[in-house]
Symmetry: C2
Subunit: 590 residues, 2 copies
Amino acid sequence: MSRPDLRLSGLRRYFPILTWSRDYNRTVLTNDLMAAVIVTIMLIPQSLAYALLAGLPAEMGLYASILPLVAYAIFGTSRTLAVGPVAVVSLMTAAAAGKLAAQGTPEYIMAAITLAFLSGLMLLVMGLFRLGFLANFLSHPVIAGFITASGVLIATSQMKHILGVRAEGHNLIDMLTNLIAEIDAINWITLLIGVASLAFLFWVRKGLKPLLLSLGLKPRMADLLAKAGPVIAVALSILVVWLFALDERGVAIVGQVPMGLPPLTSPGFSADLWGQLFGSALLISIIGFVESVSVAQTLAAKKRQRIVPDQELVGLGASNIAAAVSGGYPVTGGFARSVVNFDAGAETPAAGAYTAIGIALAALILTPLLYFLPKAVLAATIIVAVLSLVDFSILRKSWTYSRVDFAAVSATIVLTLTFGVEIGVSAGVALSILLFLYKTSRPHVAEVGLVPGTQHFRNIKRHEVETHDSLVTIRIDESLYFANAAFLQDLIYDRIVCDQPIRDVVLMCSAVNEIDMSALESLEAINTRLDELGIRLHMSEVKGPVMDRLKRSHFLQDMTGEVFLSQYDAHVALTDSTAGNAGQRVTAAD
Amino acid sequence: MSRPDLRLSGLRRYFPILTWSRDYNRTVLTNDLMAAVIVTIMLIPQSLAYALLAGLPAEMGLYASILPLVAYAIFGTSRTLAVGPVAVVSLMTAAAAGKLAAQGTPEYIMAAITLAFLSGLMLLVMGLFRLGFLANFLSHPVIAGFITASGVLIATSQMKHILGVRAEGHNLIDMLTNLIAEIDAINWITLLIGVASLAFLFWVRKGLKPLLLSLGLKPRMADLLAKAGPVIAVALSILVVWLFALDERGVAIVGQVPMGLPPLTSPGFSADLWGQLFGSALLISIIGFVESVSVAQTLAAKKRQRIVPDQELVGLGASNIAAAVSGGYPVTGGFARSVVNFDAGAETPAAGAYTAIGIALAALILTPLLYFLPKAVLAATIIVAVLSLVDFSILRKSWTYSRVDFAAVSATIVLTLTFGVEIGVSAGVALSILLFLYKTSRPHVAEVGLVPGTQHFRNIKRHEVETHDSLVTIRIDESLYFANAAFLQDLIYDRIVCDQPIRDVVLMCSAVNEIDMSALESLEAINTRLDELGIRLHMSEVKGPVMDRLKRSHFLQDMTGEVFLSQYDAHVALTDSTAGNAGQRVTAAD
């Protein structure tokens, strides 16, 4: 199949900006600018909130939304992906940095910056070595389960801000225990602000747009205003806290946010620190990449555009390195924001760069206004955003469809909730690979016989077929490789031990797309054993490429029997059909 | 396929002794006793030598050859497997224990005993949960490469005893560097003994049996004497060292070996120790199991007997636990000894128990005689034994047959030699699984067209076939699951983006044995995207079990197109064959 986009010349391959910038014109500019305005309005409160979730100062959320977006605009292949801080990756950052230092310490911040750098480096290396396929080993149900469980963890982790108490923890049990222990310390004013914000934000999400439409606003305007909901909540709450001096009555506020552009920062380079963060960075990279690429792919397909997953790795890698050198923390492509960007009409990655300019202006001008912003409002923003991620229906769906998938998804959910994000997602991936390896190590194999009056061979257990006492034909419905080589050997030995009058065994290879070296050695061992028992081994319907490879080994010379072009040829040659059919019998379907 | 042996009642399943002991009679007893005598003669010097290789006192080799053999006789399913200390596992024990303590210290011995216990426990658990299939993921070339590299490491590690110097190291570079540094310290008498033993043992192996046969001895007697070669070398060298008091001239000897039956020992139970030994114990368990099961299987098949791999895990687990409580160290089924046992006529696992009695008698009576045994002779025994394991031809064979296998085997050999056994074999396993996952994540997919005048569909790149501009038919030659779900999506999006007049896409599923939930979601996504572009998605030749499962999901209702029983039906329905064939074209083979 042709893949013209992959045949780009070297520079174009690694700098997609060279491709789309050629056709840049005023219409595209207008569309990109419009989308950038909407995304900026949405991103300001989100970036502050996700920094809070990651346990970092609010300004780091803004910094993570400036340079990384510019880097993605240069290196990314998706035209509408909105890169920046996202909920799940922020939670994973908190879990990883929390293992090394306490929140609020310079070591914690250094860990987050180093995490962005390491994760960027890993993504870049994976992209340059085209290892994007690694992400395929996160099965969909495992991702769905992980995102759902993470959503629950994130929402729970924000309850402390809504209640105005201190309660840490990286898993559900710890969080709930700590929250309950603090029940007496609830700050009622904070709780009021939190609950009011939650109610307002839920209403904005469900009820505002229909209301505005019924008031006669144009759909696009109604949409824009609905997206501005969090900004309105932020502005109102700042006003209320400032007017009534609620910060003096125990309402936790964001406080001093430095004004200005992102500072130049350097990640840590100690081998010790890298060693401690390696596993976490790898998980963040892969989860971030999978989340990002799936939304990018969905959006690109809608416009018959395409993304290049390996170049996406480069784009996200560059973004994270940009985050690390400009005071940010790990970023990736966000689901909700990208959809908004797409719906708002973004046509090129330049929209992301314009968003970066918007956020940079906010960092330059608006930061003093954020002083009185209550943390409860940011927590409410997060809760409303992540609850849309929570979807336990995956449990029911996977139960109905496949028990193997159900096992993987339920383990992921339970382990994420009880042991945290890192153990949860690692276990999910390990389990789905293990279950997959298990399945492939026991391929479907059928003993077949001739359907009377035809040249077709079918499973003796399902069909009424002719068989012969001296001939066993085994159809293998899978490629043969090391994982199932031993299985094949066991199976044939079992079959032979059970049945004495056998003289010929035929392996029907119509579904065998490959025979690797382990399987070849198993075939050699089978051939030798059968020979010792006076039984010949034959093969039929071997595919061309498999045959080519077998010819390069000694197996075909050593094989006691023949290779037949078709199973019917084998049947005719090996059963003396004219000689009264001494051993022939017809097996009934059971 | 029927597996009658697996349907044993509970007790018989876990105690194979209950099955074979029923038919035990005098003939079987005589055969087993004869085999036990031969194996005992072979095992006495081997067990001492392998203890030396593991860096343990000589008597631990004897202890590891008593109770473990009895345990295997009760729980094992192979009738001829000879369990006990073996070269590769001894080397791995030295590598693992050497990480925790120096050779000769009580901590080192405790580590070896705990290793046997942990490994026994793991094998037992794997057996009870039927996880024997895990061993299938060691591909044959990786095992072959690992055994070859281990053989080189083992032979090199014994050079210090032949030269009479001190030189440690767990990889080839360390060992050679240390040997060269000690070149001035060579003890020439030791070297003379070592070289003479090597020459004698090689001659025994190659030349003694033909000589004895030409002298008119019966083959069986000649065979027995040839097997006694190492015992003769041991006896002669003891005599020489004692006569000339060579130990006073710097020849390293075995020294005091405690007389008596194995002591009762207890493994360590600290969580810390278990944590440090866990990975090593797992590697030893799996390598030991693979080595053991492959020889057991080969020998069983020769007599139309069979072994039950999951029960073998139980048998080896019991043996290792027995080793741990009786002063031994990790054991497994040895290749050479098992073949000797088989050739000598062993008929039941009782032969192993009789061998245990033989070794127990040796421990009771012969140990004082071992005082003057030079270590150089034991080293020579090891070198001669392991050099038969070394076979670099696997490199050439895998290069010719498959580059993927070659990559795995060469990485295993290079890493084992440069970084030691544990890293070597782990990397080999990881690499072969990774390469396998990579292959399966990119299944063979072909765009097909109708072979004119038939109802057959073939690859448009290989055959001259009819295609239609509005219809794309894609045949997938692999089950669809999470590893290749994304690949399928990419492929179809690419194909669609390239080609505008497409109205129908047919997925031909004749080789799809499974569609897991990730693949189902990919199909749903493909269906939605195609729908948005005004293209219908169809399937053809879907197998029964796959169809059953699809019917339990919403996919079939949501699918824009139809499921066709045969690809030809799809072709007829989707191409308006009567309407002048507007878009039809015949592609030539390229």
